[in-house]
Subunit: 356 residues, 4 copies
Amino acid sequence: MTVDVVAYDTVHPGDTSDLETKLSRIDPAQIRRLALLVKTEGNSDLNDFSREYALQSARLALQRYGGIKLLDRSSFLFSTGCEGAMTPFGYLFVDTIEPAGTPLSPGSALAIGCATSRSLRPEEIGTRSHADLTAEAVRAAMEDARVGREDVALAIIKTPVASLMPTASRSVRNRRITSGFSKAVGALGAGIALGEVEPSRVVEDAFDSDHSLHARRAMVFSGAEIDRVEVLLLGNRPGAPGGLTIETGFLVDLLDAGGIRRTLAGAGCTLADGVVANPERVAAMLLKVGASANGAVRGNRTTIKSSHIDMDKHVRAAVSGIVGSILGTTKSFISANTVHQAPPGGGICACIVRKG
Amino acid sequence: MTVDVVAYDTVHPGDTSDLETKLSRIDPAQIRRLALLVKTEGNSDLNDFSREYALQSARLALQRYGGIKLLDRSSFLFSTGCEGAMTPFGYLFVDTIEPAGTPLSPGSALAIGCATSRSLRPEEIGTRSHADLTAEAVRAAMEDARVGREDVALAIIKTPVASLMPTASRSVRNRRITSGFSKAVGALGAGIALGEVEPSRVVEDAFDSDHSLHARRAMVFSGAEIDRVEVLLLGNRPGAPGGLTIETGFLVDLLDAGGIRRTLAGAGCTLADGVVANPERVAAMLLKVGASANGAVRGNRTTIKSSHIDMDKHVRAAVSGIVGSILGTTKSFISANTVHQAPPGGGICACIVRKG
Amino acid sequence: MTVDVVAYDTVHPGDTSDLETKLSRIDPAQIRRLALLVKTEGNSDLNDFSREYALQSARLALQRYGGIKLLDRSSFLFSTGCEGAMTPFGYLFVDTIEPAGTPLSPGSALAIGCATSRSLRPEEIGTRSHADLTAEAVRAAMEDARVGREDVALAIIKTPVASLMPTASRSVRNRRITSGFSKAVGALGAGIALGEVEPSRVVEDAFDSDHSLHARRAMVFSGAEIDRVEVLLLGNRPGAPGGLTIETGFLVDLLDAGGIRRTLAGAGCTLADGVVANPERVAAMLLKVGASANGAVRGNRTTIKSSHIDMDKHVRAAVSGIVGSILGTTKSFISANTVHQAPPGGGICACIVRKG
Amino acid sequence: MTVDVVAYDTVHPGDTSDLETKLSRIDPAQIRRLALLVKTEGNSDLNDFSREYALQSARLALQRYGGIKLLDRSSFLFSTGCEGAMTPFGYLFVDTIEPAGTPLSPGSALAIGCATSRSLRPEEIGTRSHADLTAEAVRAAMEDARVGREDVALAIIKTPVASLMPTASRSVRNRRITSGFSKAVGALGAGIALGEVEPSRVVEDAFDSDHSLHARRAMVFSGAEIDRVEVLLLGNRPGAPGGLTIETGFLVDLLDAGGIRRTLAGAGCTLADGVVANPERVAAMLLKVGASANGAVRGNRTTIKSSHIDMDKHVRAAVSGIVGSILGTTKSFISANTVHQAPPGGGICACIVRKG
């Protein structure tokens, strides 16, 4: 259970050549868990299929590399939207089995765990049951990673939405189960599992409404293509082998570069004049930042919620500049919409760093 | 000739209420020059009329305030595009006449000058003559500001484009006079006047083509509504009264936060952990940043030149995050496209700071 | 009270030159009512200000032409969105006073009437009271036009929406008062006044929800800039002078060219091979067509409700092709969203024709 | 060599379920040629990958159905853009081998032929050689279909463009090889082969410039993913078995419904009041329509070339309304940009009809 993380390039969403190069160095039989955390470059709108295309292409590549059985040990989180100073790319996480008898390491190191819930019935989506199934899947992923609740750094969650396909019959009830609403439910479920949200407050009236409730170590995504909750959990496991460690931090608002810098410093990076002095130690950087209720930032109005461009694109592009100028690279995994994942307008970041 | 700069808010492009409040404190008879440098919030596309609407509204407001004669002493630079962490707002520059006999100040202070060229004939647009008329107007603006070439901090230029109106007859020749091409010509003209571009190299084949040529202290905008070149020049005049000073700096690329920080430091601001410690001293911040030839940043591909969103929007949004996180505000004047105003992919910034 | 209608061109939303030419032929003192029904060409999104710009420009032009008092006798309906085969243009309606003692005409002719409600309080918007005030204004406009309920051809209604300005405080209650919801309420109010909707069924739960309810002779628009309901009513008044007549018709769905043709034939036009043979008799053509609940047309899915382009743009562009190919012109007033103005997916059209 | 055409539905670009159902009725061993002519529903912009996704999915489906060898006998033309009243769907063309000794049919019937050129070197793209290779491929496709030049109804051509991938090194020369330019060259090549364009006039200066040159029976598409010219040719072969016939016609401009109606009538359909009375006989309808140089239609300006929406989308949406209202369906293959495929602003249509 040694986890490594490597970034791979894509020339377009269907391109898996660099992924295959990176995989070719690893014996598929040694892989306990494989996860792809990928940013694709479509328009992020209802008629964007870059994510589905990338996912189909990646599955074909993994199947060629490790056979169809490897797919069962693999987890996929593809997120669309690479605005601003952002490179479309992927992180390949590989958790390999070490030889029997390998002694425990002295400190702790990055561990990953995967789990999925059972399939949700359409009428369950958006209910408390949806939140509970998310919580259960997070707990299962903790077990898979063999990390305790206090050692979890980040639960990355994908949660189903009611289909928008014109052929689907949809009750009035389900009409409200948009992508944002599904993320809200998933985040509260994760918050229950991580001990960050009081379970009794997770009632349907609070979903996407009582924004005082939020998890602190969850990034939640939604997908119309799935009918179950999928979890990729990252933490630091005491005694784990491997040279990586993960640190989680927070942004109070869209311009909070200080929150990013403190997280990097906490993970062991050196900062000088606001910039990371040893960027080669950063193996991965993940951010998710939201917009405030009216789109204002530090009291001033913006066009984040009042333009032809979706608010998430404004946020991702602005964050890409901030984190890019700190790390000196356009390769970070940046996402938006932090409903119940941070206080309104706030954000979360996690960096994986090579130990000194 | 004391220059003051104040930011004013707009609730929408046609809103002039805060501008009128700010103006109400000044006697229009004392105004030698007035300039509005404004960011409006339209979609920046061919069917965006927010700039025209804002300009019409501002002219009506100025006329109500100071009569139609004030318009002749006024200069307008309205630029569309407020993506990311950016507030639509305006800077009001007012250059007032001090009482006769006011002694010279010991140091130097911000001075502004305005000038316009004669009208260009349609067939002149995009030619060397267009560049020469720009150079002439920059020199006239220097004279108006009473600053020498070495004391110029920034020439803000608006330059005409050939109309895209379907009713206009356009020769094949003029078809290439797009907004970007017009900016290119204007920038080279400014570079001649400022001694930054060798006049003999300003030939038509070099326009928007030989990107080794560039001015260093020019920000160039284009407008289909004008038929002449308009210049608003900013500099530090020795002996000028007033408490403001301006500093110009450069960004080597889209992520060069260091370039912004050095400019702020050069103007007298204090930086701590990459952030301005005394932001109340910053009266105005102007930036213009470009994209590299293929859109890549630090060797990695981006979607800046390969998405449904125009490249300038990607750039402005990313820069808004960087400068916003340094200054702690969304109120900066951020623009894109630095053709012949910086090396490809680079940028220019200018900050106006209250003297310590 | 002789009504004339003339189309005028615009080179851009702020252009009033052709409007002024058309007005110059009329003595402003003879004008009882003036109305502008205009399509502008912005992006129709939250950051589109072409309508506000056009309105401000038209008001300035009318003021120059007929003084500020003429504005009180004038009505403005500016609608954004000119996709497909559509020309941005305006219809100028002028209702002039005939000399005393003019005898009644033998038949009936086009008449117009204008009315506005009192200002709505923010908390009234979207309530039954909003619908009742609309009904009242429609009745007042009928009186102004001196037409009975059975002679009304079309009530064109503008209705307020709750502001989206970030600075506005908005209760959760008002958050749902979107443009579409405001149109829904206005349409039901018009339906009450026109005897097409049973008043007892106009309850808040039915708004934008019980789509079996709909007016038959209303086109409803919304505007964030107004706080009252404005009505421009068109009908045929027995005995009225003037050479124009208006006919109303219906489209069962987006492809129902037959509905348009029947309306034209009903108004006295001749059709041959599906095309109007005497298009010079058509003085004005107005259409409003909607999308079905899931966007499907005749049982087949479309991208109308599942693309990056707003559904109204898909609809307007498709309708522009249909009506344009029937009339042989791109100058028709085409609008979308028929919530409570037609059965779901259906439409309404009205043509004003010169009498034979 | 009996050709059948059937439309199949897609729930999303990757959906091949209905294609597979349709294929399941056919023995793959009997298939001489198979062609898919498909409209996909992405945003049609640089970051649209719906076409690539659909193509990958269709190839996987064909491989499952008929083995990898069937792919060699298959031809793919996927075109993005389903605006307005248009359904994303595909036409499946199957050319099956009849038993030996089948006698000739008395009349003529639909025949298809496929051919591809050799690979083009990057520097050949956009040159006269590119046009000649296209002409050669069209001739080879005629041979494959066994139709003479006079019996060709339509040459559907896919032609390569210079890659826009940021990693590609591009000479200044190739910078101009956009999608539109590539179509221009392909159309002139087709025109040479079909005897519609004088070969001596096909010089590089004329490409996308001398718009008096145009083929009459070609629809040309471009693709960044190919490096050769691909041709799918449709014609009526005397003696061919099968119950289908194809008719080609022309639109003089965007609103020319008469051109569509005449084509349908020529193919044997009955029209009443401008509408097809026997739509069940129409097996396939293909259209390609362009915009005039300044976007005006019948002398009036439109926003086709001056909005945030690409001109092709305006055109497709408007045409979808026209043809949809004639055929009573949203299932037609509608495309835009007719550079050198029709006079400027004009169009071409082809309908495949079941013989009476």
